[in-house]
């Protein structure tokens, strides 16, 4: 027999972007500790629907921690109290019987609430569009071994590339800064020879877009790194600063 717990949920409900929201409290009984956090919300929504009420809106997609769709600020942590996992990988065994769980949307001027717990994260796409790519000419596929890349750089680029763009960094930051995201996206290319060609233009364009979209100034608190489900390091931020400053000094 599964162990089950009873929980009280304090969930942010907001009908639309311009409507004033408020917390609603729900009691949920007999939740298996083996169920995931999102399954627990599914159970809540089924109960709400059967009572003829509006279900709670939240983002989710792959439910295996790789797509970056899920969000939720749970009891003072983006993606909940577990380390190095997304909300979809969080399980109810992390909570105690009778616990009150507060669930809020990401809070940042750059991520306005669409409805309930769902926020608009298009700002990240806009930053990517401004320069988070490599331009290549079409033609024959080049030999993968034609360009030598050191193991250290390849590993570090891969670590940067593990960013799934969920926005937990912005949600955790007291300054609403998107520097961890932008620096990971700049680093994953800046570390590789193919990405060096457009490196200066990329750093300038992506930082300009980030500032324009209303994200804050990084003060190196490290909250982003502590809450990142993919453990992206703030050394990426130092690299972005370096790339940006040297690009501007060359102009």
């Amino acid at each position: 027999m599964d162990k089950t717990i009873n929980v009280t949920l304090k969930i942010w409900r907001q009908k639309g972007p311009k409507v004033k929201g408020a917390f609603e409290t729900y009691k949920l009984d007999n939740i298996s500790t083996d169920s995931s956090f999102l399954e627990m919300l599914d159970i809540l929504n089924e109960q709400l629907v059967s009572k003829g009420q509006e279900p709670v809106v939240f983002d989710h997609d792959c439910r295996e921690g790789i797509c970056g769709a899920c969000s939720l600020y749970i009891n003072g942590h983006p993606h909940g109290p577990d380390d190095s996992v997304t909300t979809c990988q969080l399980h109810m065994r992390r909570f105690k019987d009778g616990e009150t769980i507060t669930i809020e949307p990401w809070r940042s001027a750059g991520f306005p609430v669409i409805r309930d717990l769902m926020v608009d994260r298009q700002a990240f796409e806009k930053i990517m569009q401004s320069g988070g790519y490599v331009s290549v000419n079409t033609g024959g596929v080049p030999d993968a071994n034609a360009i030598g890349i050191s193991k250290i750089d390849a590993d570090e680029a891969m670590d940067s590339a593990s960013c799934i763009g969920c926005g937990a960094c912005v949600a955790a930051c007291k300054n609403g800064s998107a520097m961890l995201f932008v620096s990971a996206k700049v680093s994953q290319l800046a570390l590789l020879p193919q990405g060096r060609i457009e490196a200066a233009r990329r750093a300038k364009a992506m930082v300009a877009r980030m500032d324009e979209l209303g994200f804050g100034n990084c003060t190196n608190t490290g909250a982003c790194e502590a809450e990142c489900p993919k453990n992206v390091s703030i050394t990426n931020i130092a690299r972005l600063n370096r790339e940006f400053i040297s690009a501007k000094l060359k102009d």
């Binding site: 994200f215 130092a238 501007k248």
Partner: protein, 226 residues
């Protein structure tokens, strides 16, 4: 100009001005250490070691040129602290989290602005007590206090002032433990290898500065100068 209208540029201003102010702290502490020599068996106030140092500081052309530069450094650092804090509050949005953040980060890094305000408040008091009677007089054509050493003795034998002074210095310690490595991070001079080095160097530097400034008032309060 990118340095003023990009987020990284503004952080660069903050880091460069901050490091400049740290260099000033080191010079200031070095000069203050002369206080620990006491009267040094001097026959006249002008021969007291600390007064000799003050006289040197007040007449040295390099120092005289650097005083307005230093004032500018303070002004830039303070003005940008207000600008950045206001912008960052705005970036956080109008709706705040109801549950307080449980993210495990250093206390100082979250409270740099508050710590800065505390340091600034005591700094104003300090300027009124010492600098206004000493170096400022050279700039406004007045007569500086001939016995700055006695000024220090008078204030540092007052336990209330000593407590205030020490609280001030340790608020500064918190500010520096985050500020020092953070400045190098903002300049882009950081990576996996240098992160622990900058942090360790920052902690050592902050601690040496704070201990140095703490010993001096205690030295006078406990009458060790006699």
């Amino acid at each position: 100009m990118w340095i003023f209208n990009s987020s990284i540029g503004r952080k660069l201003i903050m880091s460069l001005s901050g490091l400049f102010l740290i260099s000033f702290l080191i010079v200031h502490l070095s000069a203050n250490l002369a206080l620990l020599a006491g009267t040094g068996g001097a026959a006249t106030p002008a021969e007291i070691p600390y007064n000799v140092v003050c006289h040197f500081m007040d007449t040295n052309p390099f120092i005289m040129v650097m005083v307005p530069v230093l004032a500018l450094g303070f002004l830039v650092h303070i003005v940008y602290a207000f600008i950045l804090t206001a912008q960052n509050r705005k970036a956080r949005g109008n709706d705040r989290y109801a549950s307080s953040s449980k993210t495990n980060i250093s206390w100082a890094s979250k409270n740099m602005f508050i710590l800065g305000i505390i340091v600034l408040g005591f700094l104003c008091l300090h300027l009124i007590h010492f600098w206004a009677k000493m170096q400022l007089q050279h700039f406004i054509g007045g007569t500086p206090d001939a016995n700055a050493y006695q000024l220090a003795v008078d204030l540092f034998t007052n336990p209330v002032y000593v407590v205030i002074y020490i609280v001030w210095i340790w608020a500064l310690w918190f500010h520096l433990t985050h500020g020092f490595w953070s400045a190098f991070q903002s300049m882009g001079l950081n990576n996996y290898n240098w992160m622990p080095r900058w942090k360790a160097l920052g902690s050592v530097l902050a601690t040496l500065i704070a201990i140095g400034f703490t010993i001096i008032p205690l030295f006078f309060m406990f009458g060790l100068n006699q």
